[in-house]
């Protein structure tokens, strides 16, 4: 087809809608355009002279022009900053010559929160009458206008790499045919029987694969056998329900299954390691662990806190913005749905991404560039978390080439609840109410997708599993839920997460039974099949069990917050999950089979090869240069550009800030919050991970990650004896015996380490299929355990930060340095492979943390910084420039283990990453008391805070490091810019 013909065809497809495009006035800067232009320059597109962004709106064609103009003036256009262009339905806009246009609209059915807000504003103010919701009324899009000598392929490049994400967006280049329609096709077939009873193994596998069910042959056989006994075939809705409920995402079949570990039989790895530690520690302050949506512990008189961290890896790989945003939204709902619901008071986040400077040519096919992924996930967390009014206070970013095809995104939320809200029960006769977002075709098969491996075509087949959230809807749910909770209007609640209503209702009714009338579920648009309604993972929905006599009051609470809430069925005593649509049964499942019928997985694991070689630690001829290079390296450099985009002040609970010191540029170890305004009790949050250690020694990696999370929490004032931890495993494909072997070792390290520290696990999550396939090559992520710690702080007035405070104060080194540079940043810098990975000394480490806590609690400590990536040299630099105070240290005083001669002692002391070590500034008047507290433990005075603005590190008479603070700060600030 010639281009003229194409244009003609496109003009016939001009949207039958009023088109409003809003641009910044000439002479004013255009931040969106500027950002996109900078990104285009990164792609090497120097020909692009300018790029500007216009916000586009499409409105129902039935409106009169005068009404459209009024809506634009009153609502859509800023009279000072913007100009507007209004175009009548089915006509092309009067665009300027010389500017190429790229129009980006979300695909039909993808969430458009702004359009929802506009519809509501128009309806409420009665400025105009919109058609009813069965037709499309308002949609938004972006109009980008580009200047320069640009070829068609340049426009395609900018569109695909910067302006749009093909998974969720529809792009128009060179024509104006942006769509104005609702989504069409049905992706999951309507109700009907699936012939399973006589199916062969091959047919069973085909049914699972074609239906994106992600069920194994053994599971398909179990389902077939169940239906053979029942004497009938399963319906679509039944099979889908089984697939969702039995998914690895929901059931943790690897962890809960049987593992043959080189002949040793492990029945339920989770139960025998992580849960066993908690059970054996039997802390009386653990209120609710592992069985609800989050772990709950006692906090203060009458109050509990709860914590949950989720992984959202696969959706974030495909659509970073939507994936991380819905990750945040999902974990917040876990907190809303734990017990009778808690108020979210803090968010945490951690990202593991590929190198930001990866050359475009090295980017595997089907992958998004790590820079784009990181910017996207940061923006997603920012926009969702900030809008929810929840401060994002702690987290981290790790960079490694093995995350290029499969980035990791962890999102956590802490909640606060009255002590009497920790438990829930469902009674037969309770009404099932779904509240919050409406159900659409978005997010079908998310649970089964997350359990599968990514590959270069993931983008194509999985797009329905990806979605955009709407934080405003969740904010409404939050407000209504907390009011309804405080008024006692429901008996139980849970969130709609993976598997949607099928999982939520299935879980809540597991002990009794449930009957659902699917036609009652409020929909975003018409045309969904009953099965789609049932398994859709549309965001921002919660399910309640409501005593019939309280239903009216509950619905009224939601109505007052402008939030949908609808009765869709009843919990029963039948022991069955019964589904109907408009009076027709579409399925009836035995609850017992649904929840207990999953065949246990049997998997083989082999003991991983642990590196035992002990390569030399090379001497450091120029420690100044080595330190500056480390400060600039992506894993160590400042993440301030990310931290600043998150609101960490909302709710006014923050005691210490993520960035510390005179100029707010020091990376804080942990976050301290004061949740109750009337009490000085607080909580400290910390996290730990180290992907460099995982392959070398998974046991040490896990143990060190726990140590790091605890260090971060204790360094700011957390009590190690009142600390709970969370595990989040992200692993390569555990069908491979060596991967599973690493998981066994890491889990066992979790058991031993948690027991030694006395810190129970209270919640966790696993994502065990993080591999990316390009052709025949499989790139697995390094075994990654992300550990979060929540510690109580007895008195927030005693919380400390990491920046040095007062010249003249002594500085102490707590802990002991060993020649443990395996996986260290120094070895990476020197291209040394292998080596001993740090492990905490589990006999000494708990005592060291306890002693440190006592000194912080008694007010001896003025500053405290834990030693992690980059070792002592990096920690010393950070604490000095953050405090804008000089620091002089002598390595000769550093408590050290013994090591072979081929390890250069100065390099080990400067750069080893041994566990359980801190640099502590002590109030001079309390020095003796401080030293006494560490009697019998490793602690030595290594230097002083000085008035000069330099970091000086000596080894006896020899000066190794001598750097002005500004140079250290500049290196730290400049190394990692998004």
């Amino acid at each position: 087809m010639g281009s003229n013909a194409a244009r003609e065809l496109a003009s016939r497809h001009l949207p039958r809608a009023w088109r409003i495009e809003v641009f910044r006035r000439d002479g004013l800067d255009d931040p969106d355009g500027k950002r996109a232009h900078a990104a285009a320059r990164e792609l090497g597109l120097a020909r692009l002279r300018s790029l500007r962004h216009g916000r586009g709106y499409l409105l129902s064609p039935e409106l009169e022009r005068a009404k459209v103009e009024e809506i634009a003036r009153a609502l859509l256009v800023d009279p000072v900053l913007e100009t507007v262009r209004i175009t009548a339905p089915a006509t092309a806009p009067a665009t300027s010559a010389g500017r190429a246009r790229v129009l980006v609209a979300r695909r039909p059915g993808v969430m458009d929160p702004v359009a929802q807000t506009i519809e509501r504003a128009i309806e409420r103010s009665k400025v105009a009458k919109l058609p009813d919701g069965s037709r499309v009324r308002v949609l938004t899009f972006s109009a980008w206008e580009l200047e320069g000598e640009l070829a068609q392929q340049d426009l395609v490049l900018v569109a695909s790499k910067i302006l749009a994400n093909d998974v969720i967006d529809e792009v128009r280049i060179g024509d104006e045919a942006v769509h104005f329609v609702l989504p069409g096709s049905v992706s999951v077939r309507d109700a009907g029987a699936i012939p399973l009873c006589k199916a062969s193994d091959a047919e069973l596998e085909r049914i699972s694969k074609d239906g994106h069910l992600s069920l194994t042959l053994v599971e398909m056989r179990a389902i077939r056998d169940h239906y053979v006994t029942a004497g009938r075939e399963p319906t679509v809705a039944e099979l889908e329900t089984l697939a969702q409920t039995w998914s690895e995402h929901c059931k943790h079949k690897t962890f809960a299954g049987i593992i043959d570990y080189d002949g040793e039989r492990i029945d339920n790895l989770l139960k025998t390691t992580i849960k066993a530690a908690t059970l054996e520690l039997a802390k009386p302050w653990c209120v609710s662990v592992f069985h609800d949506n989050a772990g709950v512990i006692e906090f203060d008189e009458g109050w509990h806190v709860c914590f949950k961290v989720e992984t959202h890896n696969h959706p974030s790989a495909i659509d970073p913005y939507g994936g991380s945003g819905t990750g945040v939204g999902g974990v917040i709902r876990d907190i809303l749905g734990v017990g009778l619901g808690a108020k979210p008071i803090a968010n945490t986040d951690a990202f593991f991404v590929g190198p930001l400077d990866l050359a475009e040519k090295d980017l595997p096919k089907g992958c998004m560039h790590p820079r784009r992924i990181l910017r996207g996930v940061v923006a997603g967390v920012r926009d969702y978390g900030n809008r929810m009014g929840i401060p994002t206070v702690n987290g981290g970013v790790w960079v490694d080439p093995r995350y290029v095809g499969n980035p990791l995104v962890f999102c956590g939320t802490v909640g606060l609840m009255p002590a009497n809200c920790a438990a829930k029960e469902v009674k037969p006769g309770d009404i099932i109410v779904v509240a919050g977002g409406r159900t659409g075709r978005d997010g079908i098969h998310g649970a089964t997708f997350s359990s599968a491996e990514l590959h270069e075509d993931s983008v194509v087949v999985s797009s329905s599993a990806v979605q955009i959230g709407n934080a405003l809807t969740e904010k409404r749910v939050l407000a209504a839920l907390l009011e309804a909770r405080d008024r006692g209007l429901y008996r139980a609640v849970t969130d709609c997460g993976a598997g949607g209503l099928s999982s939520a209702v299935g879980e809540m009714g597991a002990e009794c039974g449930a009957s659902v009338e699917l036609e009652k579920v409020p929909l975003k648009y018409p045309g969904l099949s009953p099965a789609e309604i049932w398994i859709s993972e549309a965001q921002e929905r919660m399910v309640f069990a409501v005593p019939p006599e309280k239903l009216a009051a509950l619905l009224a609470v939601f109505e007052a917050e402008d939030c949908d809430a609808t009765a869709i069925g009843t919990f029963t005593a039948t022991g069955k999950l019964e589904l109907a649509y408009a009076g027709q049964s579409i399925g009836s499942l035995d609850m017992h089979f649904l929840h207990e019928g999953t065949p246990k997985w049997l998997r083989k694991a082999t003991r991983p090869v642990v590196r035992t070689d002990d390569p030399a630690t090379p001497a450091c001829a120029d420690a100044n240069a080595a330190l500056l290079a480390l400060l600039k390296s992506p894993n160590i450099a400042s993440k301030e550009w990310i931290v600043r985009q998150y609101d960490h002040e909302v709710q006014a609970m923050g005691v210490t800030k993520p960035m510390c010191g005179e100029r707010d540029d020091g990376p804080g170890d942990g976050a301290v919050l004061q949740p109750l305004p009337h009490s000085r009790k607080g909580i400290a949050l910390g996290c730990g991970a180290n992907p460099n250690y995982g392959l070398l020694d998974p046991w040490a990696m896990a143990s060190a990650a726990i140590d790091e999370a605890l260090r971060n929490a204790v360094a700011v004032g957390g009590d190690p004896d009142r600390t709970a931890i969370l595990d989040n495993f992200s692993w390569g494909n555990c069908a491979r015996p060596e991967q599973l072997g690493r998981l066994v070792e890491a889990s066992r390290a979790c058991y031993t380490t948690a027991k030694a520290f006395g810190t129970p696990f209270i919640s966790g999550k696993d994502s065990l299929n993080n591999e990316f396939r390009v052709g025949d090559e499989v790139i697995a992520i390094p075994p990654t355990l992300f550990v979060s710690a929540l510690a109580l702080v007895p008195d927030v007035a005693r919380a400390v930060t990491m920046d040095l405070k007062t010249a003249g104060n002594p500085v102490y080194f707590v802990g002991r340095t060993h020649a443990e540079l395996g996986g260290s940043h120094y070895f990476a810098q020197r291209n040394v492979e292998g080596g001993r990975v740090p492990r905490p000394d589990l006999a000494l480490a708990p005592r060291t943390l306890r002693a440190l806590h006592q000194t912080i609690r008694s007010g001896c400590v003025r500053a405290c910084h834990d030693l992690s990536e980059g070792g002592l040299a990096v920690a010393a630099a950070e604490t000095a420039f953050a405090g804008e105070r000089g620091l002089e240290l002598d390595l000769a005083q550093v408590p050290a283990g013994t090591w072979a001669k081929h390890h250069d002692s100065d390099a080990v002391k400067l750069f080893s990453e041994s566990c359980t070590r801190f640099l502590v500034e002590v109030d001079a008047a309390h020095a003796a008391e401080f030293e006494r507290s560490f009697a019998g433990l490793d602690c030595a005075r290594v230097g002083s805070v000085t008035a000069g603005k330099r970091l000086v590190i000596k080894s006896g008479a020899k000066t190794l490091v001598d750097q002005p603070l500004d140079a250290l700060r500049a290196a730290h600030q400049g190394g990692f810019q998004g």
Binding site: L28, K34, V80, T117, G389, L472, Q645, D664
Partner: protein, 215 residues
């Protein structure tokens, strides 16, 4: 008699609880009120002497920060708000609340809201949302809450905080009428540039202005 304060909230308001707590600690009786309730019973304003629009992301800040809330206040409560200010009521808009207040026209006078306004809050010069501590100086102004000359630290957290005026006359008018209440300064009171001036506002005027038309 205790001073009565209304903290107005709607979908997306975030800071209502800490705002109410601050008012209580300052001695007022603070009442959280949903916009829909106030629309239904505007007489509730009669018993209050302080109206606070707290921070957050009202209606998700969809379209622009505070735009839809401003539109709703103009549409449903325009006359009542004018009357409230007219009879000496105090109005405080913090962060998102101020973004909405600008749209109502209360700063510029009757009939100067929405499409007729000459003041706008644009996206920060940095191009993104930022959260950080800054220093503010109270300027000599009509605002009787703030003692002129005082410096105080305050956390800001916003993406659209750059005050932009349609023309120089608008700024001159605001200055002349004593409506510039706060200014971003360095920690020691000096002239601020980024990051002490987090958003690039014209003349470093803080958007956390106190509306004081009646005082």
């Amino acid at each position: 008699m205790t001073t009565q304060a209304i903290v107005l909230r709607t979908a997306g308001t975030n800071c209502e609880h800490e705002t109410a707590l601050a008012l209580e600690r300052a001695g007022a009786k603070a009442q959280l009120l949903h916009l829909h309730k106030l629309e239904a019973e505007p007489a509730r304003l009669d018993s209050a002497s302080i109206l606070v629009l707290p921070g957050g992301f009202s209606y998700g800040d969809d379209i622009a920060a505070g735009r839809v809330l401003g539109h709703e206040l103009r549409t449903f409560l325009g006359t009542q708000l004018s009357a409230f200010v007219e009879r000496g009521g105090f109005v405080l808009g913090v962060c998102n609340g101020f973004q909405a207040l600008v749209d109502t026209g209360l700063l510029e006078g009757p009939g100067k809201g929405g499409p007729a306004r000459s003041i706008a809050l644009s996206a920060n010069e940095s191009g993104h949302y930022e959260c950080r501590w800054v220093t503010l100086r109270n300027e000599p102004s009509k605002c009787t809450w703030l003692e002129p000359g005082m410096l105080w630290p305050v956390p800001v957290a916003h993406g659209e905080g750059r005050l932009v005026f349609k023309d120089d006359a608008t700024l001159a008018r605001l200055k002349a009428s004593g409506q510039v209440a706060l200014r971003y300064v360095t920690a020691d009171g000096g002239s601020a540039s980024y990051p002490e001036l987090p958003n690039g506002s014209t003349d470093a005027i803080a958007r956390r202005l106190v509306e004081a038309a009646a005082r």
